[in-house]
């Protein structure tokens, strides 16, 4: 742990002891981090905002740390070495996302954002010609069923990469694995999804042929 992090922990601890001076220092120290985290989150969610919105959220975040006798501030433990800065940044992002969700912004975005086969060009091949007869909505459902059957780490990858549009390098950084491992993960996921869709389609084609 670096000196800065140790200093931050000391400030946080003194704030909890009721020192107004330490509380003041804490706000000054993390004010820019919180302010820019708010801006970034709003931008990355493609939300239009003005300075007042950012200031309101900035103040809300600091108040949330100190309200109810510093209930939130007391939750910081840092037992694995998490720095107060990393913790506060995560709180800032969470607060903004929760705020947007409460306003219904994100709910709409989620409805619009669905994984479809076009997002997975690798899945498009000759073997899938019969799928062309199936409606697009059905393809999506098939794919989602397939995703549900993947392992947690594979599900995480596919959601981060296709849903949240993180690059392979960003996924690697987020999941703390090498870029090479992310490519392996991607290859495995696509293979498993293809197998799943292939199996279902074959079963349905067979059922259809028997009926006719």
């Amino acid at each position: 742990m670096n000196h800065s992090s140790q200093d931050d922990r000391k400030i946080l601890s003194e704030s909890l002891s009721g020192s107004s001076k330490a509380s003041e220092t804490l706000v000054r120290k993390f004010s820019n981090l919180v302010y820019q985290s708010v801006q970034y989150t709003l931008m990355t969610k493609h939300i239009s905002f003005n300075k007042q919105d950012v200031e309101d959220l900035h103040n809300t975040i600091f108040l949330s740390l100190f309200e109810n006798k510093c209930k939130k501030l007391r939750q910081y433990q840092g037992k694995n070495g998490c720095s107060p800065a990393s913790w506060i940044r995560m709180i800032a992002v969470r607060t903004v996302l929760d705020h947007l969700r409460k306003k219904g912004v994100d709910a709409i975005a989620w409805q619009q954002r669905r994984i479809n086969l076009e997002a997975l060009p690798e899945l498009k091949c000759d073997e899938f010609e019969p799928v062309g007869q199936i409606e697009k909505a059905r393809q999506v459902r098939l794919l989602q069923d397939g995703i549900q059957k993947l392992r947690p780490r594979e599900q995480m990858f596919i959601k981060l990469h296709f849903d949240h549009e993180l690059s392979i390098a960003e996924v690697a950084e987020t999941m703390q694995i090498s870029i090479c491992n992310v490519y392996t993960l991607k290859h495995r996921v696509i293979k498993r999804l293809k197998s799943h869709v292939d199996l279902i389609v074959k079963q349905e084609v067979s059922t259809f042929q028997k009926r006719s």
């Binding site: 704030s15 009721g18 107004s20 509380s23 003041e24 804490l26 706000v27 000054r28 004010s31 820019n32 919180v34 302010y35 820019q36 985290s37 801006q39 970034y40 989150t41 931008m43 990355t44 969610k45 300075k51 200031e55 900035h58 103040n59 600091f62 108040l63 100190f66 309200e67 006798k69 939750q75 910081y76 433990q77 840092g78 694995n80 070495g81 998490c82 990393s86 913790w87 940044r89 995560m90 709180i91 992002v93 969470r94 996302l97 969700r101 994100d106 989620w110 947690p152 780490r153 599900q155 995480m156 959601k159 981060l160 949240h164 993180l166 960003e170 950084e173 987020t174 999941m175 703390q176």
Partner: protein, 226 residues
């Protein structure tokens, strides 16, 4: 089954690679099924990695100062409320203790009988025996003029209370004199006739108050007040 959402610190630990393999698997199991937590992780991860992607405005001094004022005023209010609560608790405890141990401590005086007796030795001399808790005390009132008197307060076993017992004479709320017992008695000299009270306190703990009147004709009319 969806597991409990990890807190911010746990997510930060995941993002910055501080969890064991087992802990990571546990978090990933949750993230795979929780869109809300996954979104928090994805946005924070991007923020850490490529915050230069956007031109972010730095915070202005005004915004920081406004937040400082908000937080410090809140801290001050919390501290004040804490002090008020603390005072309230201390007062309650004090009251409870005084109810049990020191009936006279607390708010306002409540008239109550005080054990004692009056002996008129002569027209100019009256002797009272008053009991302040366990301290049996003799109060002698001796007329020294047409409108003045000496008041002598003599606790029994005075040696036991030497330099620890404070005897105070008051007229209404005004303190006339107050002495620490340093002998066999405390003497209040040439006190004008009128209504008075005598209080005994040991190391700050009151033992009781006796109110009385010194008059020219009957010299003294006493009644206990605790």
């Amino acid at each position: 089954m969806k597991t409990k959402c990890p807190d911010e610190e746990w997510l930060a630990d995941y993002l910055e690679g501080r969890l064991s393999e087992k802990e990571r698997s546990h978090v990933e199991e949750h993230l795979a099924g929780c869109e809300i937590c996954l979104e928090r992780l994805a946005v924070t991860s991007r923020l850490v990695q490529d915050r230069d992607r956007f031109e972010l405005d730095p915070v202005s001094n005004e915004v920081t100062e406004a937040a400082v004022r908000l937080v410090t005023s809140r801290t001050a209010i919390t501290q004040d409320s804490l002090m008020e609560k603390l005072k309230g608790s201390v007062s309650k405890i004090g009251s409870a203790i005084s109810d049990v141990l020191c009936p006279n401590q607390g708010h306002g005086w409540q008239p109550a009988p005080v054990r004692g007796s009056k002996t008129v030795v002569s027209d100019d001399f009256v002797c009272l025996n008053v009991s302040f808790e366990e301290i049996e005390t003799e109060i002698e009132i001796e007329k020294t003029g047409s409108s003045n008197a000496h008041i002598r307060v003599k606790p029994h076993k005075a040696g036991k209370y030497r330099r620890v017992l404070r005897i105070t004479l008051k007229q209404g709320k005004r303190e006339v004199a107050s002495y620490l017992l340093d002998g066999l008695y405390v003497l209040f000299e040439d006190i004008p006739f009128g209504h008075y009270s005598i209080s005994l306190a040991k190391k700050g703990v009151p033992f009781g108050t006796y109110i009385f009147e010194v008059k020219g004709s009957h010299r003294e009319t006493g009644r206990g007040k605790r």
